[in-house]
């Protein structure tokens, strides 16, 4: 979905949050590049999950173990707290039932890391307000009809969801101009293109 460089930027930011030797379960792992990075640089013990067979084949080629399957099924069979981290990167907005998945990942992970494009970003608001068109940008590059993103949310929506559902936000990170990672930002819901959160069950 994202360009290679952009995704690498986000992967690098996620990797910086993870302790060496951690167990990491990446949901919607794609070609396994985040897990390969974590295995190589952090000695993480990793597992991927993806619904596309091509993703599993690409993980195989990298020597990254991965499970092919439906998210609901795959998460339901996991034990509570069995992973140090569950990663849900650039996946939340394409899920059919993001609320269920968010509750599941804080159950099976001691912590979870979530990143998603911020629909509250100024360019989005501008496009919507002045052009009256569904927004398109670097992190949201699709037309309204072919977008895999079926559940748009803003950073504030995410904060609100967590507060209501007993989920604690431990770390907030933002990707602003040129997708540079920042741990602080003024008015992030307006100026962050992407949000990155480390969460856990309260």
């Amino acid at each position: 979905m994202l360009r290679e460089l952009d995704r690498r930027t986000i992967d690098t930011a996620i990797a910086a949050l993870i302790e060496p030797g951690a167990t990491v379960f990446d949901i919607g792992c794609g070609d396994g590049s985040l897990l390969a990075l974590l295995a190589a640089t952090k000695g993480a013990r990793t597992l991927g999950l993806d619904i596309k067979s091509e993703a599993i084949l690409q993980c195989l080629a990298k020597g990254i173990p991965a499970i092919h399957g439906d998210l609901d099924q795959a998460l339901a069979s996991c034990r509570d707290g069995m992973y140090d981290y569950v990663v849900l990167s650039q996946t939340l907005q394409v899920l059919k039932a993001p609320h269920t998945v968010l509750k599941e990942i804080v159950r099976i992970g001691k912590k979870a890391i979530v990143s998603f494009p911020n629909f509250g970003h100024s360019s989005v608001r501008w496009s919507f307000l002045w052009r009256g068109r569904m927004p398109k940008s670097k992190v949201l590059p699709f037309e309204w009809y072919d977008s895999p993103n079926i559940h748009h949310l803003t950073l504030r929506d995410f904060e609100y969801f967590c507060a209501v559902h007993g989920i604690e936000i431990i770390v907030r990170g933002f990707f602003g101009r040129r997708l540079a990672y920042r741990s602080r930002m003024a008015f992030p819901n307006l100026f962050a293109k992407e949000g990155l959160f480390v969460i856990r069950k309260k």
Partner: protein, 385 residues
């Protein structure tokens, strides 16, 4: 590379005999068997470190002849030739490939059609009932004979997948990895039912004579019926519709008689008859029974699959096919999920295919990629997650 360059070429079936009296092989049932002869083939070279051996374990009707030909004018290569050879997924330039005929089989390894040294006659039904575990114990003897302490991988589909699973449960320290294709931890009631009907077709045949049919040429029509039934279970409804539909051999009106008229009928009849030329009815009984008995959770986990799979140290790859209803994808997924809960190194891939259970023997680019890439990344004993 042209196809001849990717071909293992002329291969040879070899024999290895062990458990000569007074020694014997103790079977899972407690019975003793000996001597035991194993028919096997090898391709490629065993490395100086002896760390590149890949054991192929075959399915119900397979044999040790997995690749290559026996003579230049042989029309048919081994049963998995498309997967094994120089530059193929199981690359004989890199790996030392071993495949043996299973215990109880009829292609050179000791089975019910072998001569019972006690009587000088074929064993027939005096042959002890063997299990998947017994087959694997015999393969272990063979690889020891070949000077191999650790296998890079054990690879098998269907009943071969059961053997691969048994390998990593019974000898967890030996294979570094296993590839379990279209298989399961235990057959479903439906699959056992099909086996039972197949066996009944054989035993109900008047020429079966309680298994002592060898003097009469050994062609048991009931075996052809069992094979026809088997072939139905190996295909999928969609695959059958695509390939045969209601096509008939002749156009025009129905013949209003009982000859094979639909193409699916003549296909099954042909498969059944061909099977009589190369397979022994008693072996069919023994091998299907071994499949029915296989129960990884029952044997190794007191009924708990997770407890059983906790024994596994190998890296694992499970592959299923979307249209396989004999060994449904859910069974592979269940194995993978249990290993995931245990934090083991497991990969699961469900390949979209309309060819049913048989897909693993057909050209399948995704399967080829999965096996080739998985083997290439097997290094150590597996880092669990």
């Amino acid at each position: 590379m042209d196809s001849s360059a990717r071909f293992v070429g002329i291969v040879e079936k070899k024999l290895f005999t062990f458990a000569d009296p007074p020694d014997s092989l103790e079977l899972e049932s407690g019975e003793k068997l000996g001597p035991v002869t194993v028919a096997y083939e090898t391709y490629g070279e065993l490395s100086a470190e002896r760390d590149n051996a890949v054991l192929i374990v075959h399915a119900l009707s397979g044999d040790s002849h997995v690749a290559g030909v026996y003579a230049p004018d042989d029309r048919k290569p081994g049963w998995w030739d498309l997967m094994i050879g120089p530059g193929k997924p199981i690359d004989t330039r890199k790996y030392f490939v071993v495949c043996s005929n299973i215990l109880g089989g009829c292609q050179g390894t000791t089975g019910p059609s072998s001569i019972n040294p006690a009587s000088g006659e074929p064993y027939a039904l005096d042959f002890p009932v063997v299990t998947i575990s017994d087959m694997v114990a015999v393969q272990k003897k063979l690889i020891e004979h070949l000077g191999i302490k650790r296998l890079l991988s054990v690879v098998g589909g269907s009943m071969g997948g059961m053997q691969a699973l048994e390998w990593i449960l019974r000898y967890p320290e030996v294979p570094r990895s296993a590839v379990v294709i279209a298989s399961c931890a235990a057959l479903t009631a439906q699959a056992i039912a099909f086996d039972a009907v197949g066996r009944s077709a054989i035993t109900a045949d008047p020429s079966f004579e309680n298994g002592r049919y060898y003097s009469g040429g050994g062609r048991i029509a009931g075996l052809a019926v069992a094979r026809m039934l088997g072939h139905i279970t190996y295909l999928s409804p969609a695959g059958m519709r695509e390939r045969f539909g209601r096509k008939r051999r002749a156009s025009g009106d129905y013949a209003y008689e009982f000859k094979d008229e639909f193409e699916i009928e003549s296909y099954l009849a042909h498969q059944g008859l061909r099977f009589l030329d190369r397979f022994d009815a008693n072996s069919y009984l023994y091998i299907t029974k071994a499949m029915d008995y296989f129960d990884a959770a029952g044997k190794y986990g007191e009924g708990s699959l997770e407890k059983a799979l906790a024994l596994i140290r190998a890296r694992t790859l499970f592959v299923s096919f979307s249209s396989d209803w004999l060994f449904p994808p859910a069974q592979s997924r269940e194995l993978a999920a249990a290993l995931q809960r245990l934090g083991r190194d497991v990969t699961y891939l469900n390949i979209e295919s309309s060819y049913g259970h048989d897909t693993f023997l057909l050209p399948c680019p995704e399967l080829a990629r999965a096996i080739g890439d998985f083997l290439a990344t097997v290094k150590g004993g597996g880092g669990p997650c």
